[in-house]
């Protein structure tokens, strides 16, 4: 294990790779700070750039953007009460009240430290789990993959913030987008309306349209917000000895629960932070302080979302099955670069596999080191008005998509997905399940077809094979729970 990790470190420390690791985390932090541009947007914006890089460097950079944005997201939450990323919504709850009390510096220090500790716990778990997970993943056949993908899609809709039915509809829509192009088995074209669609819909167009453009259309014209001023002196930022002692529990609990939720299919950093907040409030002796600037409410979730950002790479790299929309993009980026993620990735591409994992550690050290010294710069960035930002985002989207295949049709497709993304949000449909359905749909179809072919159409295979049975059982539990909660909600509505 150690020698593998050293091989990874060797890969990252190569100057040509190291530069991109640094660029990735800095862009990530920057994106996290800027409200209105999320990690998905940033990763999709940079996808075309990665075609000019090798697969290892690409993934190290894109991964850096993802976990870097978790650090940056909390800065806007604390100073503006405006979360930079979905997972930093929770940071607003106790971070902003602290800033209002003149403790912004301390809140920023605690989130940076918690992020770092959480990430280290996550990285440690990734290193320990990688080899056993890859060996375990080798036992996976078509039925296991089919049931895991099905469970992942179901779990993603279960934990979505909106209605579950609407999220399921979005997954189905995403699967439909994934069907467009040629059928894997027969080669027949499906839903190809113009010749340019013969290769299927480009992931770059879909992601940039749904997330990048959709967000822009929604946010143009938003009013400028005033950021709270922040004092950075050692006395202002350091917590007292008693406060620091009280943070050990939340950090460990947050890091542990975050690592768990990050590794599960369908859950991600956002869910991990909400869960950690709920846990901290439950175990706290002073739950009434939560929402008014409780340190545990700040550090637990922050450790959790960063730990989850690391462990979400476990199923992505070892099984090739993404847990959330960001990981779906990572899989897409790997495939576009000619690398097939899955159980064989570790043996076929050890430098890539361990290089990515080692880059987490290096990236987090860089992030921790630049977070506080550059706080004035981040505060300055927060003050950039959105009307100076969005035209550049639109340009990056147009030029990025065009340069990918020199195709004007791709640009127009991106626009269509952008309009779709805006309309979906307007009607309370979430866009993230569409992307997940798009990436997982073809996997589901291929493995389901293969299972039915190999087992003569016998559905009991999903119950008789032990790993399948676990996934099927979990899926059944999710369905039962959501029916139960819908009925309960219906009863509660009727009694009001």
């Amino acid at each position: 294990m150690l020698e593998n990790f050293l091989l990874g470190l060797n890969t990252v420390m190569d100057p040509s790779v190291f530069v991109y690791a640094v660029v990735g985390v800095i862009i990530g932090q920057l994106i996290g700070v800027l409200p209105g541009i999320g990690a998905i947007t940033a990763i999709s914006l940079l996808l075309p750039v990665t075609f000019h890089l090798d697969a290892t460097t690409s993934i190290i950079m894109l991964a850096g953007i993802y976990y870097g944005s978790q650090y940056g997201g909390s800065i806007a939450s604390i100073l503006l009460n405006l979360p930079g990323t979905p997972s930093s919504v929770v940071t607003c709850l106790d971070g902003y009240p602290m800033a209002q009390k003149g403790q912004a510096g301390k809140a920023l220090f605690i989130t940076a430290t918690s992020s770092f500790v959480g990430s280290c716990i996550g990285v440690g778990i990734v290193i320990m789990a990688a080899i056993p997970m890859s060996i375990f993943a080798l036992k996976f056949g078509a039925p296991e993959y089919a049931s895991l993908v099905f469970l992942g899609l179901l779990a993603a809709t279960m934990i979505a913030t909106g209605s579950q039915i609407r999220s399921l509809a979005m997954v189905a829509l995403g699967i439909f987008f994934g069907l467009i192009g040629s059928d894997i088995s027969s080669g027949a074209y499906r839903f190809v309306l113009i010749p340019e669609m013969a290769d299927g819909i480009s992931l770059v167009s879909l992601a940039m349209g749904l997330f990048g453009l959709g967000e822009v259309i929604k946010n143009i014209g938003q009013k400028k917000r005033r950021a709270i001023d922040v004092k950075i002196t050692l006395k202002d930022i350091l917590p007292s000895r008693a406060e620091a002692k009280g943070l050990v529990g939340p950090l460990l609990r947050g890091g542990g629960s975050g690592s768990f939720f990050g590794a599960l299919p369908g859950t991600g950093a956002a869910i991990a932070s909400f869960m950690a907040y709920a846990i901290e409030k439950r175990v706290s002796k002073t739950p009434e302080k939560f929402g008014k600037g409780a340190l545990a409410g700040l550090s637990g979730p922050e450790a959790a979302n960063n730990a989850a950002a690391q462990t979400s790479f476990i199923p992505t790299l070892t099984l090739g099955v993404p847990g959330d929309a960001v990981m779906a993009l990572m899989i897409g980026a790997l495939i576009l670069n000619g690398v097939i993620p899955g159980p064989n990735l570790m043996t076929n591409e050890p430098a890539l596999f361990w290089g990515v994992i080692a880059s987490f550690l290096i990236g987090n050290i860089i992030l921790f080191a630049i977070n506080l010294p550059l706080i004035r710069f981040w505060v300055m960035l927060i003050r950039i008005p959105y009307n100076k930002l969005y035209p550049i985002v639109i340009l990056m989207i147009s030029a990025g998509v065009y340069s990918h295949r020199n195709s004007v049709v791709d640009v127009i497709m991106t626009l269509m997905f952008g309009v779709l993304g805006y309309v979906l949000r307007r009607y309370r449909f979430e866009a993230a399940p569409v992307l997940l359905g798009f990436v997982l749909g073809p996997m589901l179809e291929e493995n389901f077809r293969r299972t039915m072919l190999l087992y003569g159409g016998d559905f009991t295979v999903f119950l008789t094979r032990p790993i399948c049975a676990v996934f099927t059982g979990l899926a059944a539990l999710i369905i039962a729970f959501s029916i139960f909660s819908t009925v309960q909600k219906g009863k509660a509505n009727r009694s009001v």
Binding site: L168, A169, P391, S398, V419, R426, F429
Partner: protein, 152 residues
């Protein structure tokens, strides 16, 4: 007046209705592909499952829109939508024929106008700066295969 009221009442259902239309599209076209059988699925088997799933979920979300109508508290941003569309379409129209810089100029200017807070002077200065930035970033730093002026 009456039509306006009717529109307002139906508006929350548009999303779900669009999904049902999409499901009909998937089923309509997907039915033309051979389905095969469960053990030997053809290209049309899975699209039918997806089509029916879309139809089912679309119908269920329509039911929830009818029983529990939620009116969005934000208005539909027609202006934003129109200018963003214009911006990207002009970029698409100009990039092959005129090159990156002219395409960027027109596209960014149109995008900037979407926000009514921007004045003409600030739009012009800002657009020129972005053109310079785009030329430096895309052509010189990222070395994307784009031509600055004219056909590539």
């Amino acid at each position: 007046m009456k039509t306006g009221k009717k529109f307002a009442r139906l508006e929350p259902m548009f999303g779900s209705l669009a999904l049902i239309v999409a499901a009909c599209f998937v089923l309509g076209i997907g039915w033309g592909y051979s389905a095969g059988k469960l053990t030997q699925m053809g290209p049309g088997y899975f699209p039918r499952i997806v089509g029916f799933a879309l139809l089912g979920f679309g119908a269920l979300s329509l039911y929830s829109d009818v029983t529990n109508p939620t009116v969005s508290n934000t208005r539909f941003e027609w202006r934003n939508l129109a200018f963003v569309c214009a911006s990207i379409l002009t970029f698409a129209a100009l990039i092959d024929r005129a090159g990156l810089v002219p395409a960027t100029f027109v596209s960014v200017a149109l995008a900037t106008i979407a926000d009514s807070q921007n004045s003409v002077k600030s739009t012009l200065i800002y657009t020129l700066c972005v053109c310079l930035f785009a030329w430096g970033l895309f052509i010189h730093v990222l070395e994307l295969p784009l031509s600055a002026f004219g056909r590539g």
